[in-house]
């Protein structure tokens, strides 16, 4: 991917969306690219790790089990119980899978030799958003019935009648378009921008190193920024995994709440 930028002998080609396009990993199979491989790898890694850490399910946990339990308890308590309330338990497996899958895919962004956040390919956040979207509407409809669920969304109780002229289209748009769209976009854009930012400093430093003496001297500054931003990216990657799961929990909580 860097070949095209280095190709520009003389001028610096800034990193851009072309850095998010990958050649097929094997031969001409255009479907199997690096992000696709990473998504599958993340699912396998997460599944295997948690299967191993929960294998014994001992009363006195090993270190691995303790770590797995800590992550699980965090999702169960902070994202499940505290937000969804008494019906939270049936959503815990979903929230847990969501959080762990996203965080591992995000952290791939700073893992050496991978260094690409899977979620910066828009298709993956969209796939996860589809789950969230289907689930929160499904549980809402199942709990309240289709008619009441839609009525609760469209006509928020406790406002003057004429406000519905404005509010009803807004509410419908919120629940059916804006929420899923922003949910996927937020994760995608954060990962995309973060990766781009790292590319700018690392590739910029690389470019400077191969240029005039003044730029050579200044290039460590750029690399330094790149390294600092890597830590920052780690924080953002964890945060975005948390936010995606948190919002999913909030949407589910809203859908099954007695009053919208």
């Amino acid at each position: 991917m860097n070949a095209s930028t280095l190709l520009a002998s003389g001028g610096f080609v800034s990193p851009g969306s072309h850095d998010f396009v990958f050649k097929p990993l094997f031969g001409n199979n255009i479907l199997f690219t690096k992000p696709v491989f990473q998504a599958i790898l993340a699912a396998i890694l997460v599944a295997v790790f948690f299967l191993i850490s929960s294998r014994k399910a001992a009363v006195v946990p090993s270190r691995t089990q303790f770590f797995g339990e800590s992550v699980y308890s965090f999702v169960k308590k902070d994202l499940g119980e505290d937000i969804i309330g008494h019906e939270f338990m049936k959503f815990v497996p979903f929230l847990f899978s969501l959080f762990t899958f996203i965080i591992v895919n995000n952290i791939f962004g700073i893992v050496p030799f991978m260094q690409f956040p899977t979620m910066s390919r828009f298709g993956f956040p969209v796939a996860l958003m589809i789950f969230t979207y289907v689930i929160y509407h499904y549980v809402g409809i199942r709990k309240h019935g289709l008619g009441k669920y839609l009525k609760d969304i469209a006509f928020v109780p406790g406002v003057p009648k004429w406000i519905y002229v404005i509010l009803t289209p807004l509410e419908i748009a919120t629940y059916f378009i804006i929420r899923p769209f922003t949910l996927a976009i937020r994760l995608f854009a954060n990962m995309f921008a973060g990766h781009l930012l790292l590319l700018v400093f690392i590739m910029g430093g690389d470019y400077m190193l191969h240029n005039s003496m003044v730029l050579k001297i200044m290039s460590p500054l750029s690399f330094g920024f790149g390294i600092g931003l890597t830590f920052f990216e780690f924080f953002i990657e964890c945060l975005q995994a948390y936010i995606f799961t948190l919002l999913t929990a909030l949407y589910i909580a809203g859908a099954i709440a007695d009053e919208h």
Partner: protein
């Protein structure tokens, strides 16, 4: 030149906001499989571990409470037994004291009686001996006096009657002078 390449690149890439169908499908499948594993295996196992732990802690606490109750019951029973034993000992001591006192009293009475008896016997024996002594002395004195008198008088007082009369008179004098 650079703008040309950039353009070329973005044309090749397409807009990043357009999702690739492959990625959506891979995402859906990979996540579904992960979800199935989590739901069927990982979550139940963790929940079981939590339940076991709660059980272990709660069971431990219940056992401890039970043990404490047992210990308290045992202590109470020991204390009861101890106080019973104390009461018993007290009773026994009093009985023993009473018995001792009775025995001493009895012994004292017996000793007193024995002493009295011995004293009485001694007194009787003394009296008898004295009587004997007196009788014997009187005869002795009579004989001596008679002998003396006959020597003094120079006459044999063979006559039994006279002799006896003289002796009696002498004795009566003797007693009268006393």
């Amino acid at each position: 030149m650079s703008t040309q390449i950039l353009l070329l690149a973005s044309e090749e890439a397409g807009l990043p906001i357009i999702p690739t169908l492959t990625e959506v499908i891979v995402g859906l499948i990979a996540f579904s499989l992960l979800f199935i594993v989590m739901k069927s295996k990982v979550v139940p196992r963790f929940e079981k571990a939590f339940a076991d732990r709660t059980d272990a802690i709660q069971g431990g606490m219940e056992r401890a409470e039970q043990a404490q109750q047992e210990a308290a019951a045992a202590l109470k029973s020991y204390q009861d037994q101890l106080s019973d034993a104390r009461g018993e000992a007290q009773k026994l001591r009093e009985e023993a004291r009473a018995q001792g006192a009775a025995i001493i009293e009895e012994m004292r009475t017996k000793a007193q009686e024995e002493a009295n008896r011995i004293t009485a016997a001694a007194r009787a024996s003394i009296e008898a001996e004295r009587q004997q002594a007196v009788t014997s002395l009187m005869q002795e004195v009579g004989t001596i006096a008679t002998n003396l008198a006959s020597k003094i008088v120079g006459e044999a007082l063979d006559d039994q009657v006279r002799q006896s009369r003289v002796v009696d008179r002498f004795l009566a004098d003797l007693e009268g002078s006393k």
